[in-house]
Amino acid sequence: MLKGKSLLEPMDFTTEEMEELFLLADKIIEDPEQYGKSCEGKLLATLFYEPSTRTRFSFEAAMLRLGGKVIGFSEPNSSSVAKGESIADTIRTVACYADLAVMRHPKEGAPKVAAGCTDMPVVNAGDGGHQHPTQTLTDLLTIRREKGGFDNLTIGLCGDLKFGRTVHSLIKALSRYQNISFVLISPEELRIPEYVRKEILIKNNIPFQEVKNMKEALPSLDVLYMTRVQRERFFNEDDYLRLKDRYILDTAKMKLAKENMMVLHPLPRVNEISAEVDSDPRALYFKQAKYGMFVRMALIMGLLGVEERRN
C-alpha cells in the first residue's frame, strides 16, 4: 500500500510495492489516455531548488496527463526561499495547498527534512550527489521491460560514481534482486562512496569489481549505465576538467559489447555517449526517458491512493 508514503530513497518501497508500480506503469503505457481523469481535483507541488528539465517536466507531464494540476517553482530565487525561508517552513506552507510534493535540492537529505515536517507525501527528485529514486524507478522499468526482470544481470556503471545520485539509488534498488553483479567503471577520484560500498555491496555479499578500463569491462555486461561527470558537483573546476572526458562510449567500443547489452543514461548527456551511438538499437536512453513519465504517473497514483478512474 503506497498511499500516503514518501519516496526519499529506493528502499522506502519494498520489491512488491515496486512491482505494483511497474504493473500499473505497464497498463498506463498500453493505454495512457484511459488514465486522463485519475487525478482530477488533485494538486502536485514541484519544488525545484536546482535546475532540471527531464525530471520536472516528467513529473508535471505525468500529473497533467492524469488530469491533475501543478504548482511550484523551478528555481529558488522566484520563491520565499530567496528570503531565507527554511525547508521545514516551505514544506509546511506547501502542505496547506497541495496533495503531494516533489522536491529537488542541492543539499543531501533535504527531502528527508521536508518529509519529517508534514503528513503530505514527499518525493525526492534528486538531492545533491545522494539519491534519485524516481530515476531508479525509470531505470528499473526500462530494464524490466527490455530484459524481462532483474535477476542474473551484470550491470556496468560508468563515469561519475561518487557524485552520481542515480548510480547510488540504482545500486541500492538492484541489490535486492537475485544473482546481480556490478562492474563499477570510474577513475580513482570518482569511485562509489563508502556507504554504498560498505552498507550495500559488502554487507549484502553482492559481487562487484571496481575497474578503470571501460573496454575491458564491456564484453561481460548485460546493462551499461553511463553517467555524466557533473560540473556542478565539483568544488574545484580543475578536477572537473581533468576528469570530464575520461569515458566516451562510441561505435568502436559498442562492437566489444554483447548483442543484447542495453545502454542506459539518466540524461542529460554531454559527450560521454557519442551521437553516433544513438542509432544503435541497444541505445535505449531516450526510450528510458519516455518510460520515466509513465512510471511517475504510476507513482503519483500510488502515493495519492487514487483509483484507476478511467475516462
Binding site: I87, H105, A110, G128, G129, F235
Partner: protein
C-alpha cells in the same frame, strides 16, 4: 606527584584515553563557576600506561550518552560520602541525536539549522556512524572526535 583531593559527592570519569579528557570536559560543559572540577592529564595508569581523569564535585546527574562515542573504555564512578556508590556502564550508543555533527558540506544539516543531527551506529568496533540525511560515514575512533558537538550549542 600531583595530589587531588577525593570528592565527597560527585562523579569520577576514569581511564580516559590520554589526551581526550579535555574533549570530554568540553562536551559535558560543566559550570565551573559553581562546581569544583579537576582534569588530570597524562597520569600514570597500571592498565593503559597513561590516562586522563575527570573529577566533578556535587554533580551526578549529567548526560553521559556521548562518552561512549568519545571513548568507550572510560569508567564512570558515582561517589557519595567519599565512597563509590555505583559504576555506570558506558556503551557505544546505537543512535545519537545532536551529538555528532555531519562534516559533509553537501549535507542538508549544513544549511537547515533546525534539523536535528541524527546518526546511526554501523560499525561498533570502529565506532563508525552514518548520517541519517546524507549517509556520510564518520569514524569516531582515534582523532576524529572533532565532530562531537559542544553540548551547550543545543542547550541555549
Amino acid at each position: 606527584m600531583v595530589v587531588i583531593d577525593s570528592i565527597k559527592t560527585g562523579i569520577v570519569i576514569d581511564h580516559i584515553t590520554a589526551g581526550l579528557g579535555m574533549k570530554i570536559l568540553e562536551y559535558l560543559d560543566i559550570d565551573t563557576t559553581k562546581n569544583t572540577v579537576a582534569l588530570i592529564m597524562n597520569a600514570v595508569s597500571n592498565k593503559y600506561g597513561r590516562k586522563d581523569v575527570v573529577k566533578i564535585e556535587n554533580v551526578v546527574d549529567i548526560d553521559l550518552a556521548a562518552l561512549g562515542i568519545i571513548d568507550p573504555k572510560v569508567t564512570v564512578n558515582v561517589i557519595e560520602d567519599h565512597i563509590i556508590k555505583r559504576k555506570i556502564q558506558i556503551t557505544v550508543p546505537e543512535k545519537v541525536v545532536n551529538i555528532i555533527k555531519c562534516n559533509n558540506p553537501r549535507c542538508v544539516t549544513s544549511v537547515e539549522t533546525g534539523a536535528p543531527q541524527i546518526f546511526h551506529l554501523i560499525d561498533k568496533d570502529n565506532r563508525e556512524y552514518r548520517c541519517d540525511y546524507c549517509d556520510e560515514i564518520i569514524s569516531m575512533k582515534g582523532g576524529y572526535s572533532n565532530e562531537i558537538i559542544h553540548k551547550q550549542w543545543f542547550d541555549r
